[in-house]
Symmetry: C2
């Protein structure tokens, strides 16, 4: 049994991760300030179905499973709050999901950009300081993003690269250049963690995660009240979930531009498995361990075709339509990322099959009447 602190424990990944870890017998404290809920409300990007607040979900989870997730609501960017949390809970591991996670939101306007930068850097900074002061042996598991690497014209390695230059050699963090301010804050998080790992001998695992899709995990699928957020709008909905909801709504799948944009995707169940493995095998003192966390690479066109095929098998009339790309990104590019570290720890991927895709579409169909098609395109422009 490990004392595990989950920062951002109300989120799409934070909540099911808290449930999973408590089911695994760990002592779990989930902390959140409901920032994501507030922003969704303010931007009219409410998820497909209502999600009870974290305290209610934790209570419901205890009723159905007998496992307990302790909850605290507060702002981790506030030093008084986070230091009190660390001093009282004394975590052995901390999983850091507590960031503003929407790339389009980070590009929306001054206020949204500033909030993203200051919140994400501020919380990561406070986390580092709290670990150093109150539990220096604690393992930090940080959710990074594959988006830190961007789309370079060379193979993407797992966090590090050996460079031979003019006859000499050294090893460096793999070069990073991200495609949104949100993703850039994660580049900065890695810079900050790497600095303090070297100075203070922290133990850090930085999980460079691809876009996640899916509706539920083993622990959360049985009970409506336990499901994670399902956002399908332009701002908070990632492409896979958005396409699935569009297919159910009879709305064309909105491919941005040419649709050759390729990324490494994973199911929300894979996130549970990968983060679980990272927690079970902590990084060493003074180690920044980086894993690329995804299962399969798809282009946007691949995803549209997969969703269309699964939708048609269920009798849905699915159309694919290219729309002007609101982002500045390469629409055709080389993409060959490594991902062996988590497999070496024993990770068994939950790959996408038409059957699994069909089951997700069927579940979304239960909420068909709640879909608001005006949320699919919101006009946030990158430039």
């Amino acid at each position: 049994m490990t004392r595990i602190l989950v920062l951002g424990g109300d989120g799409y990944l934070g909540w099911p991760m808290s449930a999973r870890l408590s089911a695994g017998g760990h002592d779990v404290l989930a902390v959140d300030n409901y920032l994501r809920r507030r922003i969704c409300r303010e931007t009219d990007s409410e998820p497909l179905f209502e999600v009870p607040n974290l305290l209610r979900r934790a209570r419901r989870w205890q009723e159905v499973s007998g496992h307990r997730v302790e909850v605290r609501i507060g702002d981790l960017d506030d030093w008084a709050f986070i230091s009190e949390v660390f001093q009282s809970f004394r975590p052995e591991a901390v999983i850091h999901f507590a960031e503003q996670p929407a790339a389009p939101y980070s590009m929306m306007d001054y206020g949204a950009a500033r909030l993203t930068l200051m919140n994400n850097l501020g919380v990561t900074f406070n986390l580092i300081q709290a670990v150093h002061r109150f539990c220096p042996d604690c393992h930090i598991v940080k959710l990074g993003t594959m988006g830190e690497y961007g789309t370079p014209n060379i193979d993407i390695e797992e966090g590090w690269i050996d460079i031979e230059h003019k006859g000499r050699r050294d090893r460096f963090l793999y070069p990073r250049q991200a495609g949104s301010l949100y993703h850039t804050t994660k580049v900065m998080d890695t810079d900050l963690l790497w600095f303090y790992v070297r100075m203070w001998g922290l133990r850090v695992t930085d999980l460079m995660q691809g876009p996640v899709y899916g509706l539920a995990t083993e622990e959360t699928e049985a009970d409506e009240a336990l499901l994670p957020f399902l956002n399908y709008d332009e701002i908070f909905g990632t492409v896979f979930n958005r396409f699935m909801v569009q297919a159910v709504a009879g709305y064309p799948l909105t491919v941005y531009g040419k649709g050759g944009q390729t990324r490494g995707y994973l199911n929300i169940r894979d996130t549970m498995a990968c983060v679980g493995l990272a927690v079970e095998t902590p990084a060493s003192k003074g180690e920044l361990r980086i894993f690329n966390q995804f299962v399969e690479t798809f282009s946007v066109n691949d995803i549209a075709e997969r969703v269309a095929r699964a939708g048609k098998a269920l009798g849905l009339a699915v159309e694919i339509r290219s729309v002007d790309n609101p982002r500045l990104e390469k629409e055709e590019h080389y993409y060959n990322p490594a991902h062996v570290g988590l497999k070496d720890l024993g990770f068994e991927p939950y790959t996408l099959t038409d059957q699994r895709l069909g089951a997700m579409l069927e579940r979304i169909t239960r909420y068909k009447d709640r879909i608001r098609p005006e949320l699919f395109l919101r006009g946030v422009k990158w430039n």
Copy 2:
């Protein structure tokens, strides 16, 4: 004549730069919030001699030279203030010195570290947003630091590196890993600028400057009231200036550890020349232009020996003493940084000679009675 905004116009470099540019016939607005003065007061790191406030210096400069530096005091991290400054002044170029500049201060405690991170990132972010909104053609000249690169085992190129990896090629920002939180905030500044250069087509010159030494510039040397700050303490005093003051005080030159730490140094007069050249030849739209800004590489031992030799020529009894290194850094390492970009623009370095060193020591001797030896070592530890 160019409308030039100098952010951090009260600082060691910001003030003489403002005077220089006004002498060159430019329309100069210097902005500062006196953060550096406040921190020096709070940490008992007052400079060697009193420096009149920015308004008084600008007035004195106008009396002696006839040139005008306009002054505004306010916090550039405050959007209301910076947006008003940009809307009213409409700069064609902006020089960004407005950062907490002391590496030891950034490692001192939680509050100092948090202030450094939030101030430096916050001001750079606001600057980018203000330029984009109010004068998108404005050239941003950003003071970065050679410290962003750290001390890699391969040659340091000028900002960028071509990497060939598994038979494919791409060009990246040169890998950066800094040795203090202050230097890490500059790594992050570069990440942020590079992101918005790509998104919004900004014009940016990032000057990776080495440690600066020296007491005065052409414009400021004649009048006591116009001299820049001279810090010689452990927190704000950089090694060269600190050694010169120690030599005058009859205090041993405090070499940290083995003293093999090598960096690229420049005289404060070189900063004037380099920044001036950058302003005269703006970066292109959508260009992040990076120059390595230094003149000569010295190890700490080299500097100690140079200062000792010049001191002895003036009859000073100079001793060199190794003290425990409060920093975590390599004390012996490879160091071979490129610096051709500024020379290509016509930069003529002001190299260090024994005569110039002697003249600086003589000037410091005028203030010998004001030297407080207890400021030389303050006990800020990196770990």
